[in-house]
Amino acid sequence: MAGEAIKGHLDGLLLAVVAEGAVHGYGAVERLRARSGGRFDLPEGTVYPALHRLEGEGLLKSRWTVVGGRRRRQYELTDRGRTELGERSNEWRLFAAAVERVLGEALTTGGSRA
């Protein structure tokens, strides 16, 4: 999927992958790619401004860790972040279900006409 298309959903997607457990930026990109089956292949650098913004909003928290002698910034979900993720997931489910109903009906109608 093109990077532009997922830009509006990037915050929610990042909250979801960080919810799996503390992760650094590289790991978040890896999880995003793995969970989307390789469809979400955006310029990797774009996740960092988003991670910093989410941290600024109090949805994520971060700390330095040392892994293999290298310093890494690990991100974790805060309680507010968890609540926000729940709300976003519910909103997305309702939206996706509505789109599915409309598109499904259009496909059925189109199919029957054809």
Binding site: V29, P43, T46, R73
Partner: protein, 357 residues
């Protein structure tokens, strides 16, 4: 290749040193991880680094995202600080505790009173504009410039109020002022200092992002009415989200707010044209100021003499003078600060030029 990329990023990141260091460390770690993975997959080290950098995206664009984001957050902070200062000023100068200032003294007391009202208008606009941009991470571009200008106006007005009230207090002697008044004044003074520091920092971030246009002559790319409408709807939506029980009540209210200008234009076109903030903002400002002056006087009449028709009428009669002064002050304030605050978008000359074109 990675070092060159990091140097380019460092060059473009116009942020505080601590933040810059953190971003560089994170990016360096990410690029090293990607390059190591690609190298393990069979690429030559140099080729792996090039591929890692390419996957990461352009350094300039990344730096721009961070700088813009920081400027927008600065706009939010400036709006919050100036909003709190406005609230403090309104409570201490115009509210019931306002009696701590000798408002009757001329001219200092009057200056403090008028400046506080200008601060309320500027502060209100600033908060509304920042709040409307909140779902997008904060105000950006021309909106950020308007937020910062509004915050500066609030600061100047609060500073002027403190100066005028201090002179008033020093000249009115022990009879007019007491310890509470000086404490209130000190509270506003501290608020001014904190807000000044916040706004100055935010201004620097906005200039670094190149998104702020501090020039007062810059055209305002904004619509105040749409801002107010959007913020009310946003506030109602947030309230409904937090209080699901009230959702049934709040949803139609939000809908009414959205459709109110259209309804007014259909049902009372003359009144709608008179109060058209987009095309006749000075008329809107003067009408609202006069109405506020009358309401203030009527309320005062009822509060002082008790609730009765006679008291209401005498309050309204006495309030005509206050309403006149308020309208004049609104007109002057609008003429002087209208463009700066982005509520006067076109001058008569530019309108004429447009018509002749």
């Amino acid at each position: 290749v990675i070092v060159d990329y990091l140097l380019e990023l460092l060059d473009e990141l116009r942020l505080p040193r601590r933040q810059r260091r953190r971003i560089l460390a994170e990016v360096a770690d990410h690029l090293a991880c990607t390059a190591a993975e690609l190298h393990a997959g069979g690429l030559e080290p140099a080729e792996a680094e090039r591929e890692a950098v390419q996957r990461f995206g352009a350094a300039g664009e990344l730096a721009r995202s961070f700088v813009d984001q920081e400027a927008a957050r600065g706009g939010n902070r400036a709006a919050r600080a100036s909003g709190l200062l406005t609230l403090l000023l309104a409570m201490l100068v115009l509210g019931p505790p306002g009696r701590v200032f000798d408002r009757g003294a001329f001219p200092e007391g009057l200056v403090a009173f008028v400046l506080a009202q200008v601060a309320i208008v500027a502060g209100g606009l600033t908060v509304v504009r920042a709040w409307r941009a909140a779902p997008f991470g904060g105000p950006r571009g021309p909106r950020l410039a308007l937020v910062l200008r509004g915050a500066v106006v609030v600061l100047c007005c609060a500073g002027g109020t403190v100066a005028a009230a201090t002179v008033d207090g020093l000249t009115s002697g022990a009879s007019g002022w007491h310890a509470g008044a000086w404490l209130s004044l000190a509270a506003i003074g501290i608020g001014v200092a904190v807000t000044a520091a916040t706004v100055s920092r935010s201004w620097r971030r906005a200039v670094a992002a190149g998104t702020s246009d501090p020039s007062p002559s810059a055209p305002a790319a904004d619509d105040v009415l749409a801002d107010i409408q959007a913020v009310v709807v946003l506030a109602l939506a947030q309230l409904a989200r937090r209080l699901p029980r009230l959702r049934r009540l709040l949803t139609p209210v939000a809908w009414s707010v959205q459709t109110l200008p259209g309804e007014l234009a259909c049902r009372a076109p003359r009144l709608a044209a008179w109060l058209d903030l987009r095309h006749h903002p000075w008329r809107f400002a003067v009408s609202v100021a006069s109405a506020a002056g009358l309401a203030f006087a009527a309320g005062h009449g009822l509060a002082e003499g008790g609730v009765s028709l006679a008291n209401l009428l005498s309050g309204l009669l006495g309030g005509a003078l206050i309403a006149g002064v308020e309208a004049l002050a609104a007109l002057l304030g609008f003429a002087v600060l209208g463009r700066l605050l982005g509520i006067r978008t076109r001058t008569t000359r530019s309108r004429r030029a447009r018509t002749s074109a």
